[in-house]
Amino acid sequence: MLLSLEDVTTYYGPMRILEGMSLQVDEGELVCLLGGNASGKSTTLKTILGLVRPRAGRVMLAGEDVTRWPVPRRIAGGLAIVPENRRLFGQMTVRENLELGAVLQDHGHFDEDIARVHSLFPRLQERRDQLAGTLSGGEQQMVAMGRALMARPRLLLMDEPSMGLSPALVQQNFRIIKEVHEAGVAILMVEQNATMALSIADRGYVLSTGEIVLEGPASELLGHDELKRAYLGA
């Protein structure tokens, strides 16, 4: 098992956000995490990355208990995130943003990695010297994704990667996610776009006020009545 959350409970101050949460992602798997607003999806990703520490439970990464590890150590251990709202450094160039994705990487394979990102997103090569803050939303999403890939993740966390993209771009974005996944990277993806997400995922979890209420193979969840009601308005 590449990642496993074991009975994780996370608080923000006095407020309990995640409660006894267990979740697994296997090597090379694509798992999606669904749930309504404020259900704790982003908090789950932050707990995995180490930005917030759980009050109870364990976070296991590749067999090691990383619950007490600081963020950089987890990233060096194979994690990377495409954060909610992208969070690019707007006053820095596309190239600099990508470089910062590789801060913990050995400089030796930098050229190779940036070439790979450029081949996934040729647009970023054209725009390498443009300030990230002046890019279109779609281009910014590419930078956010490229920046995370520069860390050579084994497990890529993605928080609503298609937020604010036009339908055509959402399609393209999912194609690229699939491509990255097929190259062997495990992905844990938070998405509002449940149908699309499940259509490329292996498995899914549904979160409601900090608890997993539903889990299973993606194909099964796609046909699930409760989920349909909640997400697809059916």
């Binding site: 963020v71 969070r87 690019l88 450094f89 707007g90 006053q91 820095m92 910062l100 801060v103």
Partner: protein
């Protein structure tokens, strides 16, 4: 014409010192959004370190090592000593308050300023000490261009300031540390999400900013001779003015602001009256705040503190 040039040279000299102090002010503001009121006092501590180095090596009348070596030791020790002091202040006074409301570290910064001023007062007394620069660096050792004198201390100030500013610019633009500094300044959590060591980046920002203030302290001791435990206050305020005028948070802005304030001072002293210099400088601060709060090169307005 001759007086005009001489006034310009003098103004640029003090301007370089203000710029060096303003840079640290600005860097710390950029990365923590904190006005570090203790920054001027770091400059004062640098001046004291330089003073004691002169005493250790025999005193101004009997310097026991070659003068260039003495100067190098003064600059180096002040840079490292004040840099480490700045890092310690960040670690123990500001870091615990990093997520507190902004007023908390601001008040702490005032407190740190008092602590530094009064520690030096207790340890070394409140009287003015003199570097006695002319006894080991001759006033005639500089160059004269068209009748305009630039003495060797001024040359050293120009050279060292520009070298440091150039070095800082390269560091911030080109190195991983510099990029990390900019990333943390722009979005701390996003930087953390990439694995940037935020604590270390902030600590190093304090080290660099403080070290430059320390070097400025030594150079001002050499140039103006007089130091006391209270020189940090006014220098800090002027550097703050320089940072605001140039655009706080902007490195190039601090350099321009510093030089501008230095020139302003020397011109008002030469052509108006030295009694009005401070009035004019702080008048410029107020005018900037009112008319162009972003400063010359700043991007975002200085938010209320």
């Amino acid at each position: 014409m001759h007086e005009l040039l001489q006034t310009t040279v003098n103004g640029l000299t003090t301007g370089c010192l203000y710029a060096l102090i303003a840079l640290g002010y600005s860097m710390v503001y950029g990365i923590l959004k904190l006005l570090n009121f203790a920054h001027g006092d770091l400059y004062m501590v640098g001046a004291y370190i330089g003073y004691f180095v002169i005493q250790w090596f025999g005193g101004p009348n009997a310097v026991s090592i070659p003068v260039p070596l003495l100067l190098a030791i003064m600059v180096l020790l002040a840079a490292v000593g004040v840099g480490v002091l700045g890092m310690a202040i960040e670690r123990f006074a500001y870091r615990p308050l990093r997520d507190a409301p902004r007023i908390a570290p601001l008040i702490t910064a005032l407190g740190v300023s008092f602590v530094l001023e009064n520690t030096v007062l207790l340890l070394f007394g409140g009287f003015t000490r003199s570097y006695s620069t002319p006894t080991f660096i001759s006033f005639n050792s500089g160059i004269t261009l068209d009748g305009v004198r630039i003495d060797s201390v001024e040359l050293m100030i120009f050279g060292l300031s520009f070298a440091m500013m150039y070095g800082l610019h390269q560091l911030v633009q080109r190195t991983t540390l510099g990029k990390s500094m900019r990333a943390v300044a722009s979005d701390r959590e996003a930087a953390e999400m990439l694995g940037i060591n935020v604590d270390r980046t902030i600590a190093l920002t304090f080290f660099i900013g403080s070290a430059m203030a320390g070097v400025a302290g030594v150079m001002s001791g050499l140039a103006f001779n007089q130091i006391s435990n209270t020189i940090g206050f006014l220098a800090g305020l002027k550097a703050f003015t320089a940072a605001v005028v140039g655009g706080i948070g902007s490195i190039a802005g601090s350099m321009i602001g510093g030089l501008l304030i230095g020139l302003c001072e020397s011109f008002s002293a030469s052509y108006v009256s030295s009694e009005y210099t401070d009035l004019i400088v702080f008048g410029i601060l107020i005018a900037t705040m009112l008319l162009r709060p972003t400063g010359i090169l700043g991007q975002k307005a200085l938010q209320k503190v």
